[in-house]
Amino acid sequence: MPVLASLLCGFIFGSGLVISRMVQTTKVLGFLDVFGIPSGTWDPSLIVVMAAGLVVAGIGFALIRPRTPIFAPQSLWPSATDIDRPLITGAALFGIGWGLVGLCPGPAIADLATLSPGVFVFVIAMAIGMAAHDLWQARGARPIEQKLATAADG
């Protein structure tokens, strides 16, 4: 059942990306291109996607926060609170990659369905980047189990 529930949630998430057209790099880049504000070509759709998602998730999380999950013994709410260097560096590196192509992880994976060769290259490189990070971390001092236990912030 938890696997079916995950499948359903992935499908709803993907439907949201498709309907909002965030699977299109042009929509994302149209938002990120702030030079479009004075020239009138700016596309603020991404802000609306985030705002709608935040309203639903904000209210929903507040309602279910005290509950035990239906198919799991406990909720894995992220516990980290400190704003540290890995957070900032990681977010900056991610932002650079996002701006170069206009794909973040969710839309990139959903776009595999279009069989675009460029998307396959992007997702394979993304997987290598993720694995490389974990290999690098495993050699260092930071305990990776602890990171995975909180399921990451995202």
Partner: protein
């Protein structure tokens, strides 16, 4: 703002938020795509099945849209495969180092009012805006 599509953006965004709430309600997990996908590539992960199921659902959505007569066109990508690969590496490494992406920090984290996620979202947004300004207007433009 000829390209602005507020209605579809609001419906789609609400569905993304709903998916995040349902995943937490059902499985107690945060719907962060980089966290879900990243766990697949860690040899110490022992919970690959639900991660794969979520990703299968994610890919099934555009396929379902195609079956309903609304195929998702191939996204426009940069001409250089080297740029694409470099961007993919940066997104993969960066999201794991920063513990989240647009979904985990941008939606789930900010919805929890997490200061970490608010800071991360501002940082990746600003970084992406600078890169787009440079590549579209300074170097390429």
């Amino acid at each position: 703002m000829a390209n602005f599509t507020p209605v579809s953006a609001a419906i789609g965004g609400a569905l993304i938020g709903l998916a995040a709430v349902l995943l937490m309600l059902f499985t107690g997990r945060i719907a962060g795509i980089s966290g879900i996908a990243g766990g697949l590539f860690n040899p110490r992960t022992d919970d690959r099945l639900w991660r794969l199921a979520f990703i299968a659902g994610l890919i099934a959505a555009p396929l379902a849209a195609a079956l309903l007569g609304h195929p998702v066109p191939m996204p426009q990508m940069p001409g250089s495969m080297i740029t694409i690969a470099a961007a993919g590496l940066l997104v993969g490494f960066g999201t794991r180092l920063g513990n989240g992406c647009t979904s985990g920090h941008g939606i789930c984290g900010i919805a929890r009012l997490s200061p970490r996620s608010i800071v991360a979202t501002v940082v990746f947004m600003v970084a992406a805006i600078i890169v787009v300004a440079l590549t579209h207007h300074v170097i390429g433009g």
